[in-house]
């Protein structure tokens, strides 16, 4: 029990450090959110001025914007460390690797949550979708989606951060992996906005939760191998 508590403390400390660096530097999350909002604006141009069509496509576009913004977010969280040579120090800490992973994933999930939370009103305004009524299922969807994306993203950003052509490799590896997450999150969002007429919302949220759990375990189990190098 005490080991678990100690690991939780370590994870929280690492997440807090990332959050602090972000708050003081104010580089990554702010510009990422701006980028994702810009993507949403461009989707509007790409799909034409037909507002009904835009409202129909809104859940898919929202999650694509979250995925694109998320790729930048998770890459940024590791890039900052690598630039300062802090990744080596993180690897040298005499702490459980799983705790280090949990901390980085927690920081990533927090950034993703912020991204998703701020994009929801943007989608509601730009595409004219009434999201306010379904705020509770939408919040659950965004939370589960953020955790899942951060779980995969932390492992893969750790994997690619010291590689050549990492800007290409991270999306190339991550996009097919998060395909089920995208699918389930879009379906859950569609169901939530429509008031869940077919009673399928629960199934999609379960799939998201399952994805989160599996990927968190896989990330925690393998993150140590990536830090060791």
């Amino acid at each position: 029990m005490s080991a678990l508590r100690r690991n939780a403390t370590i994870a929280l400390a690492i997440a807090r450090k990332d959050a602090l660096a972000e708050l003081r530097g104010r580089q990554a999350v702010g510009s990422t959110i701006f980028f994702a909002a810009l993507v949403l604006l461009l989707f509007g141009f790409a799909l034409g001025p037909d507002s009904r069509r835009l409202a129909e496509a809104a859940p898919g576009l929202l999650w694509l914007a979250i995925v694109f913004g998320g790729l930048l977010t998770v890459a940024r969280l590791h890039q900052l460390e690598a630039d300062d040579g802090a990744l080596e120090q993180l690897a040298l800490y005499p702490v459980d690797r799983r705790a280090a992973y949990a901390g980085k994933a927690l920081a990533g999930a927090g950034a993703m949550l912020l991204l998703g939370g701020l994009l929801l009103p943007v989608v509601a305004i730009l595409y004219g979708v009434p999201l306010g009524a379904a705020w509770l299922p939408l919040a659950v969807t965004v939370i589960l989606g953020s955790v899942g994306f951060a779980a995969v993203g932390t492992a893969y950003a750790g994997l690619t951060v010291r590689m050549r052509a990492r800007e290409v490799m991270l999306p190339l590896l991550m996009l097919p992996i998060v395909a089920p997450l995208l699918l389930a999150a879009v379906k859950a969002t569609v169901a939530a906005v429509a008031g869940d007429p077919f009673g399928e919302l629960g199934a999609w949220l379960q799939l998201l939760a399952g994805f989160d759990i599996v990927m968190l375990i896989a990330g925690a189990a393998t993150y140590g191998f990536l830090l060791e190098e």
């Binding site: 995969v152 492992a155 893969y156 994997l159 590689m163 050549r164 052509a165 490799m169 190339l172 590896l173 996009l175 097919p176 992996i177 395909a179 089920p180 699918l183 389930a184 379906k187 077919f198 399928e200 199934a203 999609w204 799939l207 399952g210 994805f211 599996v214 990927m215 896989a218 990330g219 393998t222 191998f225 990536l226 060791e228 190098e229």
Partner: protein, 245 residues
């Protein structure tokens, strides 16, 4: 030599299974000759899954044992698997055109799953080429192969639900051909094709493994050559320094 015999045996087996599938087994009543694609399509899909399973297991093995031979097996599995996956997709599209009327059927969970599978492991192969140090490459690739393998069932279920929760089942599901109502001749033809393809698979796996080992030895040779060259130039420098004063 033994591998070469295996190669010829595989070639003969594929020829025999092809002749059987094309001319001996009668055409399907509903789908006509198009159904014959099933023999190669299903066989290559199964072998693709087998290959990716091998890649994941060999990757785990590498992480535990740190033996580069296991990494060579993982590489062989991914490369052969990508080939069989591409072949399965191509076969599926050729089959889908006459039966469904379209090359690409978004409602078919297998086709979409297989497309993601191809993307996952093509990424794996690209990823491998970007790291030079053999052990570092092996460890990173093992993690990628493992997460990809874990993702496959999730992808499969999500795609099935995606279709299933939304609308009724589509017709022409390839799996239905293998229900017990399928004529035993068809099943036999599929099994013989699968056996022949498995021989090809074994041959390709062995050859790719051997090639990876050779490549690795060349890399190692080059590295040792560079080290000794550096050492030699260093020693001549120190000699000339000693001679100078």
């Amino acid at each position: 030599m033994k591998t070469r015999i295996l190669g010829f045996a595989a070639l003969l087996a594929v020829l025999a299974a092809t002749v059987n599938g094309l001319f001996v087994v009668p055409a399907d009543l509903n789908q006509g000759d198009a159904q014959r694609i099933m023999y190669v399509h299903v066989a290559s899909a199964w072998l693709a899954y087998l290959s990716f399973g091998v890649t994941a297991m060999a990757g785990i093995g590498y992480l535990v044992r740190r033996d580069l031979r296991l990494d060579a097996i993982a590489l062989a599995g991914a490369e052969v698997g990508v080939m069989f996956t591409a072949f399965a997709i191509w076969g599926g599209m050729m089959w889908g055109r006459p039966v469904w009327g379209v090359f690409w059927q978004w409602e078919d969970p297998r086709l979409t799953t297989t497309a993601l599978l191809l993307a996952l492991y093509a990424g794996y192969l690209l990823f491998r080429r970007l790291t030079d140090d053999p052990h570092r490459r092996a460890a990173r690739a093992a993690v990628v192969g493992l997460i990809a393998a874990i993702d496959i069932p999730i992808v499969h279920f999500s795609v099935i639900w995606w279709r299933g929760l939304h609308q009724g089942p589509t017709i022409g599901d390839p799996g239905k051909i293998l229900t017990p109502s399928a004529p035993p001749l068809f099943v036999l033809a599929l099994m013989s094709m699968l056996a022949a393809f498995t021989l090809v698979w074994s041959y390709l796996m062995i050859r790719r493994y051997q090639l990876a080992r050779t490549e690795w030895q060349i890399e190692e040779h080059g590295r040792l050559g560079r080290i000794s060259a550096a050492r030699r130039s260093f020693s001549t420098e120190s000699v000339s320094e000693e001679a100078a004063p």
